[in-house]
Symmetry: C2
Subunit: 150 residues, 2 copies
């Protein structure tokens, strides 16, 4: 059964990768810098992750949080592993991935666009979506990469 | 500044603990077995977690997922680290904690009460709350402990 998350490395929104994880900028940028952290192997649940994968995940989260703080002055981060969608299909074919949403206590202007986290201090609004054009997406990625270090 | 999460070990809803994490049954049981995984030390962000804390967290998640699968036949798990509330106060005083919500493709009857995950396959409903009485809460904890192993 085809898994779109197994192919995420082929897309042109990749920000960084490590031995076990690959990070891709989300199409939705309603929370500036929102990204997806995807397990490189096709693993279906968190309970199947190995120690080395958790360790590496911690390192990825740390690098992303620090980069987003430097790049856009993010205030805090919401990190979620949901896996709901995979269970709408029969049979389900889940692939571990995390949604990271930076949250902002202040307005951010980046490349002339204004980002405002109206719900700061509260749950993110899942209905809010903001698709950005390819050139802005590339600029967001480039800015994040600048601060990601190696 | 007082931190309620530093005191969670003193409450009577503790399910298990490890070297670095403590797990407490949530007051809200709209998703049966919902629990809170709280860092034992007062650490304010995921980027400050040490390798050993991530490794230990992975082990806690694994034990909880397996126990909830055996105890209630949970289908999948939503795991979220939000930290929003802490930033409503000035100055913020965040303490790393995760919300684990088991999700169910089927109705579960436990101790004569029916639990139905109406939103299965979709985002959990944050408006839905179900406070349970102390004796039912204790029964849920006891059932989980039975399957947690050591």
């Amino acid at each position: 059964m085809e898994c779109v998350l197994c192919r995420i490395g082929n897309e042109n929104a990749v920000i960084t990768e490590t031995k076990h994880w690959i990070v891709s900028l989300s199409h939705d940028q309603s929370y500036l810098g929102r990204c997806l952290i995807v397990a490189k192997r096709h693993v279906g649940s968190l309970s199947e992750l190995k120690k080395c994968e958790w360790e590496d995940f911690g390192e990825v989260v740390k690098r992303l949080e620090l980069a987003l703080t430097k790049a856009f002055n993010a205030t805090l981060f919401n990190i979620n592993c949901m896996m709901n969608d995979a269970y709408l299909k029969h049979p389900p074919n889940p692939h571990v991935h995390w949604h990271l949403r930076p949250r902002y206590s202040h307005t951010v202007v980046f490349e002339g666009r204004t980002f405002f986290d109206k719900e700061f201090g509260h749950r993110f609004n899942p209905e809010k979506t903001r698709k950005v054009r390819d050139n802005l997406r590339d600029d967001i990625i480039a800015r994040m990469i600048t601060y990601l270090g190696t």
